[in-house]
């Protein structure tokens, strides 16, 4: 049991970090479907720096790359007011592809001094709390929420909608980058192409499961981590096919959301902001 809780936290951590990153920009009205690609590329850069310089610096590098990719998405999603969904999907492909092409030479090399997972897990927890406070207690949080709910009104009050959205994408990208760094520097201290293995998509689902609330994201991420672990812990102990256990986390996520009631998305989510309309 103790073991299961530990796994829930340690496997839940990359989901939590990536989920918080996506959540942050979504509260500002920008959908980010590029999480998988952003994680992949930052995992690579974090590993490269971690291997050649120092893992702690690798974390920073991963966060930096995540932020840059967030800003890159912003060029399309904020400045150009392009369709956020497809821009994100294209970014996901680009990030995965670029990491695969650029990372070839790092494959097959173990990281000699990995980072402790527990420390990063703690950091993720603090970030979740911090994000909660940021959203609910600070002026920036107020601006961010207003930009996500009613950008027109925010604009009238003199808030720079584009500026806030860019900032949210950069900060969120940093957290997504941290998730990538966790994977390649701590969770599985080496790098291979495709090592994000779909976690970015689960993180996007997590934002919805958490009803766009950072504190609920903690619960959601750990729940998924727990279920993901239990599929292997329970496999074989009961005469149920292993495939049924493998499907269980995804099924329960739907059930939990169905039972927890209607979650309201930020009103302006996914909509480019236009002053003129």
């Amino acid at each position: 049991m103790e073991e299961a809780l530990l796994r829930a936290v340690l496997f839940g951590t990359p989901l939590l970090l990536a989920g918080l990153g996506a959540l942050l920009s979504e509260r500002g009205g920008v959908v980010n479907l590029g999480v998988e690609g952003m994680m992949a590329l930052s995992a690579l850069v974090a590993f490269a720096v971690g291997l050649q310089v120092h893992p702690a610096l690798g974390v920073l590098a991963g966060m930096g790359v995540g932020s840059l990719l967030g800003l890159f998405l912003g060029v399309f999603a904020v400045s150009l007011r392009a369709n956020q969904f497809v821009a994100g999907l294209a970014l996901a492909a680009l990030g995965l592809g670029a990491s695969g092409l650029l990372g070839k030479r790092y494959e097959g090399t173990p990281l000699p001094n990995p980072l402790p997972e527990g420390m990063l897990a703690m950091l993720a927890l603090i970030l979740a709390l911090g994000l909660h406070l940021l959203l609910s207690r600070t002026r920036f949080g107020l601006y961010l929420r207003s930009v996500g709910e009613n950008p027109k009104a925010a604009d009238l009050f003199g808030v720079s909608v584009d500026g806030v959205r860019y900032l949210a994408l950069a900060l969120g990208g940093g957290m997504i980058g941290l998730a990538g760094a966790y994977l390649s520097l701590a969770y599985r201290p080496s790098w291979t192409d495709g090592m994000t293995a779909g976690l970015g998509w689960v993180a996007i689902a997590l934002v919805i499961l958490a009803a766009w609330q950072p504190l609920r994201a903690i619960f959601g991420a750990y729940l998924f981590g727990l279920l993901f672990f239990l599929q292997f812990r329970l496999q074989g102990s009961v005469p149920i096919p292993s495939e049924a256990f493998a499907a269980m986390p995804y099924l329960l996520v739907i059930l939990v959301l169905a039972l927890s009631g209607r979650a309201r998305a930020p009103k302006a989510l996914g909509q480019p902001f236009d002053r003129g309309r």
Binding site: A82, A87, L94, L101, D274
Partner: protein, 349 residues
Amino acid sequence: MRWELDPSPSPRKVLLTYALFLGLALLGLGLLFLLYGVPPLKAYALLLSPLTDTLGLAEVMRRTIPLLLIGAGLALAFRIGFFNIGAEGQLLMGAVGAAYVALFLPPGLWSLPLMFLFGGSLGALWAGLAAWLRARFGVNEILTTLMQNYLVYYLVVYLVAGPWKGQMVFGFLYTDRFPPEAQLPRLGDTLVHWPTLVLGMVAAMGLQVLLFRTPLGFEWRVLGENPEAARYLGLKGGRLILLAALLSGFLAGLAGVGEVAGIHLRLLEPAQISLGYGFTAILAAWLARGRPLGVLLTAPLLGLILAGGDALKLALSMPFRVVDVAAGLLLLGFIGAEALSRRRLVWRR
């Protein structure tokens, strides 16, 4: 200085922005090729090489088929605000339905129609479930459809590793081969299963008519453009969404039938059945700007990008990720151009 919508962009401006952004995308790709020691011009030629011979055209066409079917349905679903990103799962459901009919019902002339009907229905059911959950419990369909992809993935693994595993497959994860009656005819010795292609074209045209020429289509468009107005007019939003979800799921299911009955001729490990068509079709639907007929153009375009990327990886022995990079960059080029061409800078407040 203001940045605002351009209500009627001139064709010249549109052309220029597209040229600019595609040029930027190609420049980015070219840099990457240079880094890899490949002359960019040769690489660009390879990207377009599928257009130059029948083998390549067949490859483009083969990818077009599922993209066309799924894309047409998604164009409708997105238009009315049902964000179905579970087409991949609905496609797999279609494959399961087709395999059931092919393997467990007596074969005959009815096999193929029944496979399309049953596979499509399973796909519709799978998408309909998400629409029902949204209407009944307010569950966001992005989450549901995404999670459903995983569920059906494991269903297929269970079937091919357990109860449906073939007698003639030496223990590998396949069902037996479908009987000849349950195999789709192909064009010559290519892998183009033309009946599914015809279905896709009919679907795109049919949905276009349905959406723009019927009362139902009118209600759909109102709901999509202005949900408040729809409520004011007394339209039943839940039912309209369910109907669109069922249709898009049905078409994705048909695509799944086509893949197993036209190409694989058996049910197999799910990652091998679809090449991510359910996700790529989202882009086809968006590029078509919510017009099902437009998918007739965008699906082959994406098919060309995918086939061209494959030609690159084969001819230059490059890592398979080159396909992702090429697709990602070119798409961002299209996305940026589309967005920019609709705007203008105005030099006043």
